[in-house]
Symmetry: C2
Subunit: 234 residues, 2 copies
């Protein structure tokens, strides 16, 4: 029967898939790796788990190092542990995905890391198994967003109905009827209509909404149906 003695020890890392929405498309925040192996290759932001922190703590720290942000939506995705995934030394990586308001990142951008946003639909080759992580995260995002109001995490405090719909349409690579979409969204009472308009994208202007935080947190786990036929879109 197994004992502790003589067991192999491994490096344990955390990698973050960071999503942002620029109003048009879903984007991915990547960095140029700063050390060997694969120095200067594109990579997810990551780091090793330190002795005093837990896994969520490590992910939060890493996200904060890059973006300067705290209180961001962050969720453990999956542990990756192929023996050779890191050619330097066996490393188990726990991947997390994060949803951030891209505008907030712009304000606090760190220049310690050479970070850049890439459209999710066209990002560069990445080191190790990081592309696998991203594809998995994309699937998980679609899956979860088809059931829960998770995409609001990507929007600024104030946003318009067309913006919200654009976001959903970009995530699912499709288009929805705007009448049905807004009716469904509003029927959840997740949104509060504000009195001012965004005049930047049309002549008429579009009313701003903000999240009803209470409703949002209390009913986060309820199943929504914003997406007509989600089966085939995931």
């Amino acid at each position: 029967m197994t004992q502790y003695k003589g067991q192999e020890h491994y490096l344990v890392a955390v990698d973050c898939i960071i999503f942002g929405f620029d109003g048009e498309h879903l984007n991915l925040l990547l960095i140029k790796r700063g050390f060997e192996p694969k120095k200067n290759k594109w990579s997810l932001m990551g780091g090793f788990v330190q002795p005093t922190e837990d896994l969520d703590g490590a992910a939060k720290r890493i996200l904060h190092q890059l973006t300067g942000l705290k209180g961001v939506y962050l969720e453990q995705l999956k542990a990756f542990g192929q023996p050779k995934r890191d050619p330097e030394e066996r490393t188990i990586s726990i991947s997390y995905f994060a949803l951030i308001d891209i505008n907030q990142y712009k304000e606090k951008i760190s220049d310690t890391y050479a970070a850049e946003w890439f459209p999710l639909k066209k990002y560069p080759k990445l080191i190790f198994d990081h592309d696998k992580m991203i594809e998995l995260a994309k699937g998980r995002l679609r899956y979860k967003a088809s059931l829960h109001p998770i995409l609001f995490e990507l929007l600024p405090e104030k946003f318009t109905m067309p913006q919200l719909q654009n976001l959903y349409e970009d995530v699912y690579d499709t288009s929805f009827d705007k009448r049905n979409f807004s009716r469904k969204v509003l029927s959840t009472s997740l949104l509060v209509k504000l009195n001012d308009k965004d005049m930047s994208t049309s002549k008429k202007g579009a009313f701003y909404y903000k999240l009803n935080k209470k409703q949002y947190t209390e009913n986060f786990h309820s199943f929504l149906k914003f997406i007509p036929n989600p089966d085939h879109l995931l």
Copy 2:
């Protein structure tokens, strides 16, 4: 910027939450731990990740060691990494949950481990954070089973409609209208009706069904609606 050198290494383990259904209730397979610390305490079946195997491989191996079974439904649940979760030495544990046909286990039971089935509703205190893992697995099972036909993994090849309904009712701790239930289930064409009956639980007997494997694997990810108001049951 972070380098590999000087980083701490940790033990990496896999723990399996193993569910089985005895026709009445959902059960959990636990073992008496065979080594210190916490020797002879109840525990999930687990083991350390070996140098040549990946995480899924480790989980499969561990499940096989205990049950003698292969090809079992197995899904990564979550990585646990609190610094002190194992008092002996820092160990990152990747938890998996497995769904097995309890009858198959009985045939192949291993006596290397002191294993026992416990009702999910009343299981003993477990070592470390294993109870947290179980509660999480229970939630995940409910969540997933409300959308996908995952519970069939717990049933034998041939099963009856009342058996299936009992299973769902036990998982969600509620009861369903049998007319609506069977109609919904049959409408998916996931089941094939057989010609023989189970005569053991009633005088009339209940027809056996088996899974339509093709339908099952092809449409596994489609969303089902066997459960009336899942929101409040998860």
